[in-house]
């Protein structure tokens, strides 16, 4: 099918002409030689890629960079856009009867980008490395629950050292990438320049903090992607990402202000998709003064008008939530509700002796610009609190600082965070966020532990899910966390493209096609 010549590509090619004829003329016309040939997809991405090792360092646990990893590497198990699971590098997986062993079958015929075949040994080595504390894997504690790998043909078996109900779900998520044993060990520090994966795209060029250029891998085992070349251009500033798209410098971008999304899609003729993603905005409550007072906590929760925030501030791009489960998650329970009741909040505060004239005071920490309107949202909440008698002072921090403070249990009494949970399991939302021995929790008390503890090893799935619902109810009644909303991810692209969104929020180049 011939590609219609758009006005933009016409302008671009005349720009190229101008460059050939004269430098000054080229200065004020579009990009030089890179005419829109239809074979390249440029994505203006919101975060720079920190490293090409998708299994190590704190950033490996950042759901937001996984799109790039997923274009280059294969996960053990893959996820459909609706979060259901499908074969990845593994074609079969499962427990034995008494759940003391796991059995995996590795895909035959898959190749690494250097041409060598992917073997069962690579898979076993990758899993073993993930479980090794020295590898720096941020969720090593989970991978360490299996060990003693045995390889025979395409089969890998391992012993279960400690039962983990969500193990196979994790095999589709963070740090669950198969790496080439030989190439990785041989490369050493040179890995960053020339990483080798088995995914649909291979790395052609890495310009740190500027862009990465990927080329389609002809030996990929799955369907051939629509674009020969994919460029992830790192543009952390939302305004600049919009400018990138509008000027034709990029074909697709994400995480832009919702006002811009509306303007671009409604008046500028850009295509757009908004999907609720598996990412929620929440405020951690720490078990420290003055929030040890249940009245204060419940008042905090009841005085926040989540609906107004979603409707007015996020222009409707969000779904208010009352537990740490978004509607698509396994343990979502729509009967658990916290109400918006500012008068009730005032009464609660009055019981503890606080009022608008004599407010309870604490600090709330927030990121700024990490998520669309995060800082505005906190400002709005602080304004709502102020009216009922809560005086919160805002402290802005970087997300890295949040991780650091959270790991040391030193977050401020209230701390805003966005919690990604692409596998939708309650253990990775309520479990990790509320269990005191988890390094990710902020409220650490024995009553909650007693309720979550037994669920970690619960082998009956129905009982496990019901158990988590009960925990969520308890947490909501006691006011131990303030869930705000499920995010909606805006993705905008130029005319002539089609993008399939992924509920995990991944913007996968292999999911972009020509319309």
């Amino acid at each position: 099918m011939p590609t219609p010549v758009s006005r933009r590509s016409f302008l671009l090619s005349t720009g190229g002409l101008a460059a050939a004829t004269g430098l000054p003329a080229a200065l004020f016309h579009g990009a030089a030689s890179a005419a829109a040939d239809g074979k390249t997809l440029t994505i203006a991405y919101n975060l720079p890629l920190p490293t090409w090792d998708p299994t190590a360092g704190a950033s490996a646990a950042n759901p937001a960079v996984q799109s790039i990893y997923k274009a280059v590497f294969d996960t053990y198990i893959d996820q459909n856009p609706d979060l259901s699971f499908r074969p990845g590098m593994l074609t079969k997986w499962g427990w034995n009867k008494d759940r003391t062993k796991i059995e995996l079958e590795v895909r035959a015929g898959a190749k690494w980008h250097d041409g060598s075949p992917v073997t069962a040994d690579d898979v076993a080595w990758s899993l073993e490395r993930a479980g090794d504390p020295k590898s720096g894997n941020p969720i090593q504690f989970l991978w360490g629950k299996i060990g003693n790998f045995k390889v025979s043909g395409q089969k890998v078996t391992a012993d279960v050292k400690e039962f983990e109900p969500a193990l196979f779900k994790w095999m589709a998520f963070l740090t669950a990438y198969v790496l080439p044993r030989k190439a990785f060990t041989a490369a050493g520090a040179g890995w960053e320049d020339k990483p080798v994966g088995s995914g649909p795209y291979m790395v052609e060029k890495t310009e740190r903090n500027a862009y990465v250029r990927l080329k389609a891998f002809p030996g990929y085992w799955g369907p051939k992607p629509a674009f020969e070349t994919v460029i992830f251009k790192f543009v952390p500033d939302a305004t600049s990402r919009v400018a990138e798209l509008e000027s034709g410098g990029s074909d697709l971008t994400l995480e832009i202000p919702f006002e811009e999304y509306n303007r671009l899609t409604q008046t500028k003729g850009f295509g757009g998709v908004t999907t609720p993603v598996s990412d929620i905005g929440m405020i951690f409550i720490s078990n420290r003064e003055p929030l040890l007072d249940e009245n204060v906590r419940l008042a905090m929760i009841q005085s926040v008008d989540k609906k107004a925030i979603v409707d007015k501030l996020l222009l409707g791009f969000g779904v208010p939530i009352d537990t740490l489960q978004a509607p698509q998650y396994a343990a979502f329970d729509k009967t658990i509700r916290t109400k918006y009741d500012p008068e009730g909040a005032k009464a609660l505060l009055a019981r503890s002796g606080y009022s608008a004239a004599n407010p309870v005071k604490f600090t709330i920490q927030t990121t700024r610009g990490m998520k669309a309107k995060d800082y505005e949202m906190i400002q709005a909440i602080v304004g709502m609190w102020r009216k009922v008698g809560i005086e919160a002072s805002i402290e802005v921090y970087e997300i890295a600082r949040h991780f650091e403070l959270r790991a040391r249990h030193e977050l401020a009494p209230a701390a805003f965070y966005n919690w990604g949970n692409a596998i939708g399991d309650p253990s990775t939302s309520t479990g990790f966020a509320m269990f005191s021995h988890s390094p990710h929790s902020a409220w650490k008390t024995e009553d909650v532990d007693a309720k979550i503890g037994p669920l970690w090893g619960e082998k009956d799935e129905t009982k496990r899910i019901l158990g988590y619902r009960a925990v969520d109810k308890y947490i909501a009644d006691k006011g131990l966390v303030l869930p705000l909303l499920q995010y909606v991810q805006p993705v905008v692209f130029r005319k002539g493209l089609k993008f399939t969104p992924h509920i995990a929020g991944f913007v996968l180049p292999q999911n972009v096609t020509r319309a």
Partner: protein, 332 residues
Amino acid sequence: MFFLKRLLLALPTLFGVAVVVFVLLRVVPGDPIAMMIPPGASQADVQNLRAAYGLDQPIPVQFGRWLSEVARGEFGTSISLREDVMKLVAGRLPATLELCAVAMVVAVILGIAAGVVAVRWKGRWPEWLADGLSGLGLAIPDFLWGLLGILVLGVLWPLLPVSGRIDPRIEFDPGSRFFLLAAVVSGRFDVLAELLRHMVLPALALAIPLAAALARVVKGSLAEAMTQDYVLVARAKGYSRSRVILRVALRNALIPAITLTGVQFTFLVGGTVLVETIFSFPGIGNLAIGAVLQRDLPLIQGLVLVFAVLFIAINLCVDATYVALDPRVRRP
């Protein structure tokens, strides 16, 4: 000789810089190790990491070790980017140097032009315009010029790219990190145009404050030169005012301008920290902000030191130029 002496004098300064950098960053609240540990790591793991980064030693020992490493050009590994600091800096420095060079050329041209215009049309509207513009140029800091540039030429009237250094779709293998230089050498003028397009706004943002300061100095010294005898003689010979200014007076008015350019150039280099960030320009300034916000100690130390060395080098060059132009300085 003079130069050698200045070079030796720069050594204690460098040492002082190293001490300040070290002290400043040892008092950072927050433990860099805490950011590196995987959740669930044991206390022993944390201890091992501390030992690996030498953070378990007494402070003077840490300093001595650090200094000897720095002297050998080893700044350690960046915590947030997991790469050798020296390699990171070396990869980014050329972009910043090219940007600064372009900005300086722009500043010198704009500054001298404004100064000359103000003197040539003294007492008429061009003088007031030049004065007004240089006043604004001095009052608006570089990063606000950058934002204004984005607003006007990126948003309201989108003519120029507002982020990055080069369009990644362009097939171009520069062979080094000096893209601009490589484009000129290899005769790729389309690439050159592309590189310059990306540089226009950030370079202008950096250049305008310097240009404004230059305009003032050029105007002042030019006005003074115009009252000197040799200029009056040239005028009496019937040369036009413009010709006298450009051919005679300007040459003599340039010494203070060059000195000022040197001094102000350090400010321009310092300005890259914000301007590069605003324009996502992949230089060391951009890297620095990221490093500070991520509390990436080794990277911050490396970058601050590199900036300091740059500053000292610029000042040395200024001194040298000054001596070359004005031999009187050499006298004690």
